[in-house]
Symmetry: C2
Subunit: 370 residues, 2 copies
């Protein structure tokens, strides 16, 4: 092997895309803590702290709360494959890419799929979900809290009621919303909730916090078939994260260190204060963009504060603008996905990236390049 590789020197960026967000130095430092064994008593203590802190951030008492050893999408797959068996009926609320992804995974589980749709940029109507469930019940009602592809924040309590009124489990994707907007797993009646580390938790990507409430655990325990994924089989994983500590797979030690530190920072700020910061900085961004003549895709009442979709003005080369922001100002924002490709920018204000200073830097850079 003659080729020489230089040391790694990635650039510093201000990360204002759809994730990852910037990682605080303390989290970076935790990543570099000494690796120890996944059955070392010192690591087991870290696992317990992570579970405690995850419960606090997810606002739940669920014993079954842990980080899945994969990214947010692994969390989605873990949530679905564990509760669905072939022939089970699931109702998925679809108003963007991540609702579509849930449908894709549910179909691979052999589930019978019902979609309740809303236009991209609008929330799903709880009345439509009630009607669909009245016509034909489902085992699971699934919805994305903050649809990262559109910037819509879906109100959850009414959907939870609709699901429970018909005996369905209520399953929520909180990949982008967790720790950036109010989310109350227990108080709102969410049975299964998963997230990702690289959004408002400001930890690098690689883990997916997940929680299963008592009704979901009962469904898991009463399965007639095995979970189709061994790697994501929660009946096995819980034996490692529970009191038995039975080896399943080697835990991603360094990432769990980082998550512990990221959660500690979230709880130190306080969830309410963090939600309020996201709301405040989001409003500053929208005000600034509107002053510059830009319009938002999503109506004011439906906006997710941590992921802002801005309409690209007619005739503007949106990719060139993003490239100039990246190269000139070191600022990353995202382009549109799927039906919104080329039509919107997606500006993330997540966790440590969500500051007034970053908004000012972005607005100034945008004014300079457009």
């Amino acid at each position: 092997m003659s080729k020489r590789y230089e040391p790694l020197t990635p650039p510093h960026r201000i990360l204002l895309g759809p994730g990852p967000s910037n990682v605080p130095p303390a989290v970076t430092a935790a990543l570099g803590a000494p690796v120890i064994g996944h059955l070392d008593p010192a690591f087991l203590a870290v696992m317990e702290e992570v579970q405690e802190m995850l419960r606090a951030v997810l606002r739940t008492e669920n014993r079954f709360t842990l980080p899945v050893s994969g990214t947010g999408s692994a969390g989605m797959e873990a949530a679905l494959v564990n509760v669905l068996e072939p022939g089970d009926r699931i109702l998925v609320c679809v108003n963007g890419i991540f609702g579509e992804r849930m449908c894709d995974i549910a179909a691979r589980c052999g589930a019978e799929l019902e979609r309740v749709e809303a236009p991209w940029g609008s929330p799903v109507d709880p009345a439509a979900v009630r009607r669909a469930l009245a016509a034909s019940p489902a085992k699971v009602v699934a919805v994305v809290h903050a649809e990262t592809s559109t910037g819509v924040l879906q109100p959850l309590p009414e959907l939870a009621e609709a699901a429970h009124a018909r005996g369905a489990l209520f399953l929520v994707d909180a990949v982008t919303s967790l720790a950036g907007a109010p989310l109350e797993t227990d108080a709102w009646g969410i049975d299964i909730c998963y997230s990702g580390t690289q959004k408002c938790l400001s930890c690098p990507p690689g883990l997916a916090p997940i929680t299963f409430g008592p009704r979901a655990v009962e469904v898991l325990e009463k399965r007639k078939t095995r979970v189709q994924s061994w790697y994501l089989d929660m009946t096995l994983i819980l034996k490692y994260w529970g009191p038995d500590r039975v080896y399943h797979h080697t835990a991603p030690i360094s990432m769990i260190y980082a998550l512990r530190e990221a959660l500690r920072i979230v709880l130190e700020e306080g969830l309410e204060a963090r939600w309020e910061r996201h709301r405040r900085v989001h409003q500053a961004l929208v005000r600034g963009l509107q002053k510059m003549g830009f319009s938002m895709l999503v109506a004011e009442a439906d906006r997710a504060p941590m992921i802002n979709t801005v309409l690209v003005p007619e005739g503007m080369d949106e990719a060139a603008v993003r490239r100039k922001l990246l190269d000139g100002a070191g600022i990353e924002i995202g382009g549109g996905l799927g039906a919104l490709k080329g039509k919107v920018w997606r500006i993330g204000l997540m966790g440590a990236s969500c500051t007034e200073e970053n908004v000012e830097a972005l607005l100034a850079a945008l004014a300079a390049v457009r």
Copy 2:
């Protein structure tokens, strides 16, 4: 939230268990490099380097070579779910826990399973595989290179020939062996090979290098059903790791940085030199253990150098010895798994952990506590 959490301070350990192994400071430093976006041009360049270096370490020209976003077990699942469809026949060589795990996953794929077994501590006999394939062909022949539960190193070329003679794909688990013992993906005719980062690569756990050769890619392209796992669906993941760069899931940025650095270190040492170091240090360990009166589970010719199974003397409390090594000397070794629980210790000599100094420290500590 009133509870306060202290800063993270995991102890320093000498990691001589079945993995993770100790992580070199340069890899730790890479973990802490600035997180950037998964579509940032600077990150795409890192991905290409990682793929190049993985090819060099796996000794393959396969274009389809990348790290799966999960631990080694996710690599196992990715390998199996992508090539198996319901009703496909797979022959699995079983002589330990990880062969059993392959059977478990294959069954969850709806595959028809044939097992060729050997006693725990012995390699599988290629003649038995040839006989089984002659009686009934299979789509895939799967085997573990270094069985981490027993310490056996399975010779591969003859098995590859047996598989190919009957038109089967040859699938190899190299989680523990990669970069610690000779492994020649292309020269030996391995069609699918996966590994883990936390063994002889000396990177933290969390990624699973995988490679698919042309015959395996053809099988993937001719599938009649969708891969049952969306998260591990290589037909989708390859669109992100290939020239199209289509978003699938957010790559675990920091772990990929660490893997890049770990691979760079492996190639800087040189694969042959690294294999030789593992062989030499392994022999020093065995000599020392035998001098102290211990016996090895595995016959000399069949030993995997990086994972050494030592018989626990009659009447000795093996868990107490391990605990004393950990608490007194900061040295981790592993206990037995499955049928070998309580009967063996598993001493790993992997990557950065594989040094004469560590062997001396372990032997001295063992002499003091037993």
